[in-house]
């Protein structure tokens, strides 16, 4: 009689579990890069997911972006006015929005809305055996579910970031116009005076990385959901928490890298 011996722990159950999870996550990411270039391509599903990620997030992104721009300008004015530097407001706001706020706010909103949605949807498909059903129908569920969603978030988060930036700048302009009667053209001339190509390029790169992170984390958590409906809730929740954590870590790393190019 043969039974596979349950493996003893190397360090402790928790530490071993962490490294096993890390290994599984890396394998998952590697599998994505292996599958993404392999035909057949699920174009229809990718477009459907782009619509889900992009269009359906627009309202929340518009609201958050506009309020961010408006409130940031309003809160910055007293400090700048104290030093008689209120005229610097447009460039200060533009630098803050383009370099940090637009990518970060978009990513956090997308992590909350899209990441949780992906985690819950795939988690529910996993526990109701829909993913197994694809597998036994000789369809590659990874390609259909994971590749399409990760591509959609990677493509759409940078677009949403550009949109957030524009809406936030509009919010900032309205506040500046209300207080200083600055014209639209003068505001944007002053705003973009201090913005370099590197700022815009770095923000785009950041958004691509954030979008990929949101998609891959949501899919990984959903694909590995277990324990019925409780597992679905957990996978949605952990998708958001882990995505946000990784987004902040990536933010620090990318800022360090881009700052090294500035000096």
């Amino acid at each position: 009689m043969y039974f596979k011996k349950s493996r003893d722990y190397f360090i402790s159950k928790k530490v071993d579990g962490f490294f096993i999870d890390l290994n599984n996550a890396l394998q998952f990411v590697l599998r994505f890069f292996k599958e993404v270039f392999k035909p057949p391509y699920e174009f229809k599903e990718i477009i459907r997911q782009c619509y889900q990620v992009g269009y359906k997030s627009l309202f929340l992104i518009t609201l958050t972006g506009f309020i961010t721009g408006l409130v940031f300008t309003k809160q910055s004015r007293p400090s700048l006015s104290e030093f008689g530097a209120a005229s610097w407001l447009p460039s200060l706001v533009a630098i803050a929005i383009i370099r940090a706020l637009a990518p970060l706010v978009t990513a956090l909103i997308a992590a909350g809305k899209v990441g949780s949605n992906i985690g819950a949807e795939l988690g529910s498909m996993k526990v109701t055996e829909q993913i197994d059903a694809m597998e036994v129908s000789a369809v590659n569920p990874f390609k259909f579910l994971v590749v399409s969603r990760v591509l959609a978030t990677t493509l759409m988060v940078p677009m949403l970031m550009c949109y957030t930036g524009a809406v936030a700048m509009l919010g900032a302009f309205l506040n500046v116009h209300q207080n200083e009667m600055t014209s639209f053209v003068s505001f944007f001339q002053a705003a973009f005076d201090k913005i370099s190509f590197l700022d815009i390029f770095a923000s785009l790169i950041k958004s691509v990385v954030y979008g990929f992170t949101i998609g891959i984390v949501g899919c990984y958590k959903g694909f590995h959901a277990s324990n019925g409906t409780e597992g679905v809730g957990k996978s949605a929740n952990s998708s958001v928490v882990l995505s946000m954590f990784l987004i902040f870590v990536e933010e620090i790393l990318i800022v360090q890298i881009t700052n090294s190019f500035r000096t």
């Binding site: 039974f3 596979k4 109701t128 055996e129 597998e135 129908s137 000789a138 369809v139």
Partner: protein, 259 residues
């Protein structure tokens, strides 16, 4: 319902399972399973919940890997196949899930088209529709073609689940608890459908169930699984005409439950 036209070919082995072991942690689910299924034969695997019945068919179709032992399906050792070979084998093995596992976000038409268009990319839209309509008519649910899974009853969901596997014209059908959660009349309809599928599509089937009526009406042979081992195999009457207390208890429990 008695099966009329069996045509079982006892010279042609379709599924062969040898010394199969599978554990989940300390839970030893399968403990040395041996099973042979011949062409066009329906084998019902009976047993209580948690005895490893579903694990057995999940190993047969390659969804789970065994700890040891061999599973040979249509002459191929499942555990040794690469991804491409496994996908080719799965085109010939249909799997009907306990909870139907219909894709919630897709209509019945899309559920049925999903495996078909991805495995037969040369088909035109018209051909796909015609095959969907044909298989829906086989399971008696043509009228549901544009409905969503949430609008279907439990029995209808099971039938659509079976239709989704039949659309690929498999040689083998694996049914996981086909009658669980259904009322007695719908259960009889599903049992009749399983027999009809064998007759019309010439399939070889394994039916996993804890329902005696289902095992009796669909299985040419019944294999009784207890604590990860087959304790008796034969026709329904051979298996239950016994002094084995475990089988007698199972029979009585089922009988009481049906009262």
């Amino acid at each position: 319902m008695e099966i009329e036209n069996k045509n079982i070919d006892y010279n042609k082995l379709i599924i062969s399972v040898r010394d199969l072991y599978k554990s989940f942690g300390e839970n030893h689910v399968l403990q040395g399973i041996n099973l042979d299924v011949f062409e066009k034969e329906n084998v019902a695997v009976l047993g209580r919940s948690g005895t490893g019945k579903s694990v057995l068919i999940k190993i047969i179709c390659g969804l789970l890997r065994p700890d040891s032992g061999t599973v040979n399906v249509l002459g191929k050792e499942v555990d040794k196949l690469n991804d491409k070979e496994l996908r080719e084998l799965r085109l010939q093995v249909g799997f009907s899930f306990q909870n139907s596992a219909l894709y919630d976000s897709m209509s019945v038409r899309e559920n049925l088209a999903f495996p078909l268009v991805r495995n037969a990319r040369h088909l035109t839209k018209k051909e796909v529709t015609s095959q969907i309509e044909s298989v829906l008519s086989d399971v008696g649910l043509s009228q549901t073609i544009n409905q969503m899974p949430s609008e279907l009853s439990g029995g209808q969901r099971k039938r659509i689940g079976i239709a989704r596997t039949l659309i690929l014209r498999p040689k083998i059908m694996l049914y996981d608890e086909p009658t669980s959660g259904l009322d007695p009349i719908t259960s009889i309809e599903i049992n009749n459908l399983i027999n009809l599928v064998r007759q019309k599509f010439n399939t070889t089937s394994i039916i996993i169930t804890h329902d005696l009526t289902c095992a009796k009406s669909t299985g040419d042979r019944v294999a009784m699984l207890f604590d990860g081992k087959f304790i008796k195999e034969g026709t329904f009457d051979e298996v239950f005409n016994t002094d084995d207390e475990r089988i007698k208890n199972f029979y009585n429990y089922n009988f009481i439950n049906q009262l």
